[in-house]
């Protein structure tokens, strides 16, 4: 299986240096609602993982557990050798190495684009303004939005805001990038510019976990696709296998609805 091939290519014991996530037996409830049921997942360094599934399947919850934004109720999550548990220090370590891009961009509305990108390197890594500015302009250039550096988020389109959000996450030089439906809130015309940015990042070797409905992106970039339904992983396959020979009926139903 693709998973085993991947696991031997990158030595699992090296989890501390690379972008690896280990999720074992993870469960989560929101009150009476069982959001995650016994999820087991391994993300290896350099892998591009796409998680898809119907609404309420737990895919957003799962990805938000990976950097401690949501806390899991049971099971273990280990990111690059650091376990996510009650210790706040561990959570801080994980968040420093893991970047996140949200569906609703979540830029800081009271700060300019540049200041959005400066905040974390200066506050968390302790860089001075000039050093942080170099890094910020570098990544703003990469997402092709450098000329808008002094604008405020409310003056940008959705696609531009999301690209800024990607640059902001990249300024912390994360080992893993989590993307929670990054294009779901965008107009179809602007989806492409964001997907192109994401493809660029993928090609540079970033470990990415992406919750998305963009199957074209998944086909092009993903090493593995995870299909979730009702809180558990129902199917796991390479894009080729998943789109052409989905094994479970739930996956097949989902695909027939998504792909016209």
């Amino acid at each position: 299986m693709a998973l085993n091939n991947m696991a031997t290519a990158h030595n699992p014991a090296d989890g501390a240096q690379t972008g690896e996530i280990r999720i074992e037996g993870v469960g989560k409830h929101f009150g009476p609602f069982h959001a995650l049921r016994d999820v087991n997942l391994r993300v290896v360094s350099g892998e591009k993982l796409v998680i898809c599934g119907p609404s309420g399947s737990g895919k957003s919850t799962l990805i938000r557990c990976m950097n401690g934004i949501e806390t899991h109720d049971s099971g273990t999550i280990v990111v690059n050798g650091t376990p996510l548990n009650k210790a706040a220090a561990n959570r801080d370590i994980v968040r420093r190495e893991v970047g996140m891009v949200f569906q609703s961009f979540n830029l800081f509305p009271h700060m300019s684009v540049l200041e959005n990108c400066l905040l974390a390197p200066m506050s968390v890594r302790g860089l001075n303004r000039n050093e942080a500015k170099e890094i910020a302009m570098h990544f703003l250039g990469k997402v092709k939005i450098a000329e808008q550096a002094l604008k405020y988020p409310s003056q940008l389109s959705g696609g531009q805001q999301q690209r800024v959000a990607i640059a902001r996450a990249m300024c912390m030089k994360p080992k893993i990038l989590l993307l929670d439906e990054p294009t779901s809130a965008l107009d179809p015309e602007t989806v492409k510019e964001v997907l192109d940015t994401m493809v660029g990042l993928a090609q540079e070797g970033m470990t990415m976990v992406c919750v998305t409905h963009e199957m074209g992106f998944a086909r092009e970039v993903a090493d593995r696709i995870i299909f979730m339904d009702k809180g558990s992983i129902v199917e796991e396959a390479t894009p080729m296998e998943f789109f052409n020979h989905a094994k479970t009926s739930r996956a097949q139903d989902f695909l027939s609805q998504i792909l016209r």
């Binding site: 950097n67 968040r95 996140m100 830029l107 509305p109 974390a120 506050s123 003056q155």
Partner: protein, 243 residues
């Protein structure tokens, strides 16, 4: 009708009270704001030990007339043995500080309500993003939550500022010579309450109007929605020109 001569005579005397009114207002607002932030966070806290006392405090202050609160501090303090014998007595017997304490505690309650509401109102998204970037709780409050809360709270707080300026007139009931204190003195000298109190009212009105205008300008500068119109892009300018 109106004796303008009396009004002209009394104006300069009333203006002497402006200093006291101003000092009272500033110190009351400062004390109120400093106390309001922790009370607001306590009000929003999940723990009963935090939001219980905070809510009780706010309820009490809002339920008792401000005038009585001033009297309770000014007259009441002196009634307590241990206060009279404490090191703080020289401060606590001074009507100036009694008013600041009483109305400061009062302002704290209303301001805490405003801040507490603003904290609940701001979008959770950017705050989450700050945590995801690795910022600590303190850094997030300082750089993201509180700036956004201030912008959300500004209109309501402007109201509180104006009300506080007016509330300082209560100081006149405990011998202080603020604008109203001077006015009452002049009334007893001139036997012309209409002219004197009208003049005093006019002075208050000028100050509060000016204050309102300044605060409105500040609000516009900070407002996130208005940033669109403050820094329009060349494209926006071109489109505006065509429209």
């Amino acid at each position: 009708m109106l004796d303008f001569q009396i009004m002209a005579d009394v104006f300069p005397k009333l203006l002497q009270g402006v200093g006291t009114t101003g000092k009272l207002a500033i110190l009351i607002l400062a004390l109120g704001m400093v106390m309001a932030v922790p009370i607001a966070y306590a009000r929003n806290a999940k723990s009963m030990w935090l939001h219980g006392p905070a809510n009780t405090y706010i309820l009490l202050i809002r339920g008792i007339p401000s005038l009585l609160q001033v009297f309770l501090v000014y007259y009441g303090m002196g009634q307590l043995e241990f206060v009279r014998h404490s090191a703080l007595w020289p401060v606590l017997r001074d009507p100036f500080w009694c008013v600041i304490i009483a109305l400061g505690l009062n302002s704290a309650a209303y301001t805490a309500e405003i801040i507490s509401g603003a904290l609940r109102l701001i979008a959770k998204g950017p705050v989450e993003a700050a945590y995801a970037l690795g910022l600590s709780w303190y850094q997030t409050q300082l750089k993201v939550t509180i700036p956004l809360a201030i912008r959300a709270a500004l209109p309501a707080y402007e109201n509180e500022i104006i009300l506080t300026v007016k509330a300082t007139s209560l100081a006149s009931t405990v011998t202080l010579m603020d604008i109203t204190g001077v006015a009452r003195l002049e009334v007893s000298n001139t036997y012309a309450p209409y002219e004197v109190f009208l003049s005093a009212g006019a002075i208050y009105f000028c100050f509060t109007t000016m204050l309102s205008w300044l605060l409105r300008r500040l609000e516009q500068r900070l407002s996130i929605e208005n940033l669109k119109t403050l820094n329009s892009t060349p494209l926006q300018n071109a489109e505006a020109a065509r429209a």
